[in-house]
């Protein structure tokens, strides 16, 4: 909690993007989360990503549910659209908004309570429908707002600050997203913006359901050394499968890479993901082997991070339903009320 407003003054030599904005123009109001909260770092990574992509703030909609994580949209993109929904219901509100106006960029921000407990069903259906969005879970393994009970993503055997041991099996949202058909799946760590920012940028440019699980230590209740969601544990057990460089368009590869260590993914808009392999045999296009690798490493106590799976031409909900190209608010009376003749034709098709 901070009582003063973040000063308006900024560094005189801040870079500006193609729209003439600095990264400060993508900020929201000052965070009321605990000092040092990993969620604030994720907010900063979102700000940096949107700045670097030069996204017009008014073309972004940020939606969230309830919880520490779901408070964060107030703290970034202060000039964007926002919706703070009922607990766990962000995915259905986002789906509705996306169907109504397909032109906006949708940013769903949720937490491990909001998505893995009360909203687990919503999460599952939103992913399997392939809604074009970025779905970020700020995953700290505890219920921070109610003083640190284990959440559904806490690892079995992980210890709370006062020594209580979690006895339940964890829900791995990354594994679920893979199994449910998400076309972009990544995991990262709030303490590693070098990894996180390119992942968010790539996810924003990805068409379809992009899911990022971000481990975000809760400094107040879950940052003790025996917790598997602490800064120390994640840093010590981070198994990054690749390192992503995000390119807005096809650019010449200038750096030298050993053969077989570089993989290039071109997305539908021409943006390019350049993946430097850190785990030699990991193939981010093979859903089944990705799931296997994840399970194996998790059993070994490792936290697998990086771009875990990507499928460029998967498509999204609008394609699957063959909806109208224009957002609904751009349709005029003629398109919305095509007249008796069109209705008759439609009815006849169902006879």
């Amino acid at each position: 909690m901070t009582y003063i407003v973040k000063p308006r003054l900024h560094h005189p030599k801040l870079p500006i993007n193609a729209l003439g904005y600095t990264h400060r123009d993508y900020e929201g109001s000052i965070s009321t989360l605990c000092a040092g909260c990993g969620h604030d770092s994720i907010s900063a990574a979102i700000i940096q990503s949107c700045f670097e992509l030069a996204l017009p703030p008014h073309r972004i909609a940020k939606l969230s549910g309830i919880g520490c994580s779901s408070k964060t949209p107030t703290y970034f993109l202060g000039q964007s659209h926002g919706f703070n929904s009922v607990h766990g219901r962000m995915p259905s509100v986002l789906t509705g908004a996306n169907l109504a106006n397909r032109d906006l960029i949708y940013l769903g921000v949720s937490g491990d309570g909001d998505s893995a407990s009360i909203g687990l069903g919503q999460f599952a259906h939103c992913i399997r429908r392939g809604v074009d969005m970025v779905y970020i879970v700020e995953n700290n393994g505890v219920y921070g707002l109610t003083k640190g009970q284990f959440s559904a993503t806490a690892d079995k055997g992980s210890k709370a600050r006062r020594g209580a041991v979690n006895t339940d099996s964890p829900i791995d949202l990354v594994a679920m997203a893979l199994q449910l058909g998400a076309s972009f799946v990544a995991r990262s760590f709030s303490g590693d913006k070098m990894q996180l920012v390119p992942l968010i940028k790539a996810a924003i440019q990805h068409k379809g359901a992009a899911f990022i699980d971000v481990i975000s230590p809760c400094v107040a209740f879950n940052n003790n050394p025996e917790s598997t969601k602490s800064f120390d544990y994640v840093r010590a057990h981070n198994d990054a499968v690749n390192q992503l460089d995000f390119m807005v368009a096809r650019e010449a590869i200038t750096a030298d890479y050993a053969p077989g260590t570089l993989e290039t993914v071109v997305q539908h808009d021409g943006s390019m993901l350049r993946l430097r392999k850190l785990a030699p045999d990991y193939d981010p296009r093979d859903r089944v082997s990705a799931m296997t690798y994840l399970q194996q490493r998790h059993a070994a106590g490792e936290v697998v991070t990086g771009l875990l799976f990507v499928e460029e031409d998967h498509g999204d909900l609008h394609e699957f339903l063959d909806t109208v190209e224009a957002p609904l608010n751009a349709l005029g009376e003629n398109e919305l009320c095509p007249g008796q003749e069109a209705l008759d034709r439609y009815n006849a098709a169902h006879r």
């Binding site: 973040k6 000063p7 003054l9 005189p12 801040l14 965070s31 040092g36 303490g191 913006k193 120390d232």
Partner: protein, 595 residues
């Protein structure tokens, strides 16, 4: 890079840009906070301790602190430090508790002070409370030196000069006004334990061009004329006046002329307007009073009609730069410009003059006729003779004279105690946490977005009527508060402890100026290019912290830090703390001695 050694007093001192730039190293943010709290007396006391003349300097200082102010780098205009100082001086209450007790028992050491200007007065202020017997000589009838004779009353009322000179004289200084020292040799035979020369730079530079001798009756040397005006010997001037020269003395001359009957007063300078030596604000003040400043005109002749001045002939020049970038003024070839006038004031510089120092007395002079003076100790080649102020290194300003005075006083005190004057005392430094509560600090860390407030002026029609009417009215309480709030509290330092840091990035994310980066170490040149925002101001240090678990370093660019304390507020472990760095120069007395 190596981790920053914050125990070196210079490191955090440099971060307090205003204090670092001030020759006397006055703790500026410390007294500005007191002004914001309307604790004017305490704010005055800090100034008096450090710069001796808060009322005078609050009106006339050259303000080296203001161009250095961090506000210039993050916004545009510096905090009005000088005029806030005046607020403290004008509104102070009972200051008697802050004045030193004058010992009844003297220490038996006799000090002669030549000249009663700011340098000598500072030496007297520092030494008299220690029991020294100080005797101050001056050719003028009153003390104050150039502060009294060369600064016009409409900028500095005589009551302010009287008050601040008397405060020092009342410490038991013996004054011998009207007694001009004509021979150092004779003075030295009187057996003084030390002699301090603070005789200023009393000679105005001459302009020897045709017509100078013939029209001499209406051509005046600026500083002599100002002095005569000050003592009331001159109270009028012709209707049309030309002031030659572009320094602060020229500005005082032209504005004084406006008040003594000069209706068409023109300043003419050889160089370009931008290159004039006068402070920006003094030029503005002159132009505000309807005085045009003409540039690129070189005087070539005083025209006269049988010895009665008629005007000045000027050659038109332009600036050309040679391959080394040096500027030359070359004639444009246009016809000369003749400006008519009744009087001319020549204010083209000042020179030192030491005809009263015999060259065989043991003081070495350099080839420019200046005494060889150690810049740290102010000692001349004659061990018990010290110089300070304009007499030491040529014309500077009051605040430099004060700084010289303090150093000379230390040297004299050490000399009289048989100590090595080259062994200088370290400054007094404290570094104390300002944390009051979980997110509360003992200073106001909320950054003001206000732009610099103008000092209210007296209406020009009133101001020009009487040369004794002060033009600036000074800030009232409210304006002073608002201006004081613009201060960024650069003395409240960001202190980093890497052992406590968990590298959560909270400070990086919250910093409004992108000052903080956690990264791999490298050399300084490399590091400066890969911080959150480029660190291109090489005069400002990088603060390097280590002992981090990941082996990285914390690099903070001090350049544009607002000292808002948000890094410390958002730090979950207390790795950042806001600590007040108070740097006080050691002055003459037991603290400056090694025994």
């Amino acid at each position: 890079m190596q981790p920053t050694d914050i125990r070196n007093p210079d490191y955090f001192h440099k971060v307090v840009d205003c204090q670092w730039a001030c020759p006397a190293h006055t703790p500026v943010p410390e007294y500005i906070r007191l002004i914001a709290e309307q604790r004017y007396t305490e704010a005055w006391a800090i100034n008096w301790e450090s710069n001796v003349f808060p009322g005078i300097l609050g009106r006339t200082c050259d303000r080296p602190c203001e161009p250095a102010c961090r506000r210039v780098r993050v916004e545009a205009e510096p905090v009005a430090i000088c005029r806030l100082k005046r607020v403290a001086a004008d509104n102070k209450g009972d200051i008697s508790p802050y004045l030193p007790a004058v010992p009844k028992q003297k220490n038996g050491k006799r000090i002669a002070l030549v000249g009663a200007g700011p340098a000598s007065l500072t030496v007297a202020r520092d030494l008299a409370p220690l029991g020294y017997d100080c005797v101050m000589f001056d050719g003028d009838a009153k003390g104050g030196g150039m502060m009294r004779t060369q600064i016009p009353r409409f900028r500095l009322p005589e009551s302010v000069t009287d008050e601040e000179v008397d405060r020092i004289v009342d410490l038991g200084i013996e004054t011998r006004y009207g007694q001009f020292i004509g021979s150092l040799k004779a003075l030295l035979t009187e057996g003084w334990d030390a002699v301090f020369v603070g005789s200023g730079a009393p000679r105005g530079r001459e302009l020897d061009i045709p017509g100078r001798k013939e029209a001499a009756a209406n051509i005046h040397i600026g500083i002599d004329w100002l002095s005569s005006v000050s003592f009331g010997h001159i109270d009028k001037i012709g209707r049309r006046v030309i002031v030659l020269g572009g320094g602060n003395t020229a500005m005082d001359c032209c504005r004084s002329s406006r008040r003594l009957g000069g209706e068409e007063v023109t300043v003419v300078v050889r160089s370009g307007f931008e290159e004039m030596k006068a402070s920006v604000w003094e030029k503005e003040d002159a132009m505000h009073e309807g005085i045009p400043i003409l540039n690129f005109l070189v005087p070539v002749e005083f025209t006269h009609d049988n010895g009665k001045l008629t005007g000045v002939l000027f050659e038109k020049v332009k600036a050309e730069f040679d391959e080394k970038g040096r500027r030359n003024l070359v004639p444009t070839g246009e016809p000369h410009q003749h400006i008519l006038c009744d009087d001319v004031l020549v204010a083209i510089g000042q020179e030192n003059a030491f005809p009263w120092i015999e060259r065989d007395v043991g003081i070495e002079f350099d080839r420019w006729g200046m005494p060889k003076v150690d810049p740290k100790t102010m000692q001349s080649s004659l061990p018990n003779v010290f110089f300070g102020g304009d007499a030491a290194f040529g014309p500077k300003n009051i605040i430099w004279a004060v700084a010289h005075g303090h150093e000379a006083a230390i040297s004299i005190d050490k000399l009289c105690h048989g100590e090595d004057v080259n062994d200088r005392p370290p400054p007094g430094v404290t570094l104390v946490s300002q944390k009051m509560g979980i997110h509360e600090w003992s200073y106001d860390n909320d950054i003001s977005n206000d732009l610099r407030y103008k000092v209210p002026l007296r209406d020009i029609s009133v101001a020009l009527k009487d040369i004794r009417t002060e033009v600036e009215l000074g800030y009232d309480d409210k304006l002073a508060y608002l201006e004081a709030e613009r201060c960024l509290n650069c003395d409240i330092q960001t202190v980093f402890n890497g052992k406590l840091c968990i590298e959560c990035d909270a400070c990086v994310d919250i910093c409004p100026m992108d000052c903080i980066t956690f990264t791999e170490n490298g050399d300084e040149e490399d590091l400066r290019t890969r911080l959150s925002a480029p660190a291109i101001n090489l005069t400002q240090d990088l603060y390097i912290g280590n002992s981090l678990k990941t082996g990285r370093i914390m690099a903070k660019d001090e350049d544009v830090c607002l000292h808002c304390g948000l890094c410390a507020e958002r730090c979950p472990t207390g790795a950042w703390d806001m600590q007040k760095f108070l740097f006080e120069m050691t002055q003459a007395g037991p603290a400056c001695r090694s025994r």
